[in-house]
């Protein structure tokens, strides 16, 4: 059996990846709620927006990095040997999740970089930017968490 990068670490990495993803989903949900409130004119929520922007940015980076580390093991042992052969629909679902969350990376970066010093009362022009990034990222992360659970229920590492 060929050995791939970090093969022996796949299970602990998957557990950490899942924990970060659940935390990220929670933070993103709070952030999206704050973003909708900001759009409705509740500009006193700047402190919460700054906190969630930093938490979301850090958790997204952690979950994404852990996913990158265990990807070679997944690509060969999970997808290559099993999912592509016995569950092609699940294999395709994982690839959708992987690519859609990669599209969320620049949004998380914008939220972290712009949101950590965000003052809604002084930067009215940034409110729509914050809201669009927060709501889009929430949708992508929600899809990622649900599809990740579905894929793991078919075949874990």
């Amino acid at each position: 059996m060929p050995r791939v990068f970090l093969e022996g670490w796949a299970k602990p990495l998957l557990v950490l990846h899942a924990l970060c993803a659940f935390g990220l989903f929670g933070a993103c949900t709070h952030q999206a709620v704050v973003a909708v409130a900001l759009l409705r004119g509740k500009l006193h929520l700047g402190r919460l927006a700054r906190i969630y922007a930093q938490v979301t940015g850090a958790l997204f980076a952690a979950a994404f990095s852990l996913g990158l580390l265990m990807y070679p093991h997944y690509r060969y042992h999970v997808r290559g040997l099993y999912l592509d052969r016995y569950a092609p629909g699940t294999s395709n679902l994982f690839d959708m999740k992987e690519n859609l969350l990669a599209l969320g990376l620049p949004l998380a970066l914008v939220l972290f970089a712009v949101g950590r010093r965000f003052e809604p009362r002084e930067e009215a022009q940034v409110v729509p930017v914050f809201a669009v990034c927060a709501i889009s990222l929430w949708a992508l992360v929600a899809f990622g968490v649900v599809s990740g659970l579905l894929v793991t229920s078919v075949r874990g590492v």
Binding site: M1, G80, D95, L107, Q125, S136
Partner: protein
């Protein structure tokens, strides 16, 4: 205007992801079984283009960020809504392209190694 360079990063990153998916371009592929990288359009064996595509898009985003930051004093305020619209459009188009392509894909499994027993 401090959001403008970051939105420029977003637009360039998403555009690079869309173009590198829609048009076959050489990318850095990771070959997990052989434990090495190769720079090709599509490798013969089992490979993952994810790392290469990510590097390409981060590079494109970084270039756009640096250019937008250098031009920051000359940027007009109306640019932020325009960049935001482009970000949303590219996000929808690129996401839609992946969903459409992957919904009907027939993946090719890797050859089973000797003695492999599925759990």
């Amino acid at each position: 205007m401090r959001a403008a360079p970051w939105l420029a990063f977003c637009v360039a990153y998403l555009a690079a992801w869309f173009v590198s998916t829609a048009i076959p371009v050489p990318l850095l592929w990771h070959l997990p079984v052989e434990r090495r990288f190769t720079f090709v359009v599509h490798p013969l064996g089992l490979g993952a283009d994810f790392y290469g595509r990510l590097l390409l898009c981060l590079g494109a985003g970084a270039v756009a960020f640096v250019l937008a930051r250098a031009a920051l004093p000359k940027l007009r305020p109306g640019l932020i809504p325009l960049l935001l619209v482009w970000t949303c459009g590219l996000l929808l188009f690129t996401g839609g392209l992946y969903v459409y392509t992957l919904a009907s894909r027939q993946p090719i499994p890797a050859p089973l190694p000797a003695g492999y027993v599925p759990r």
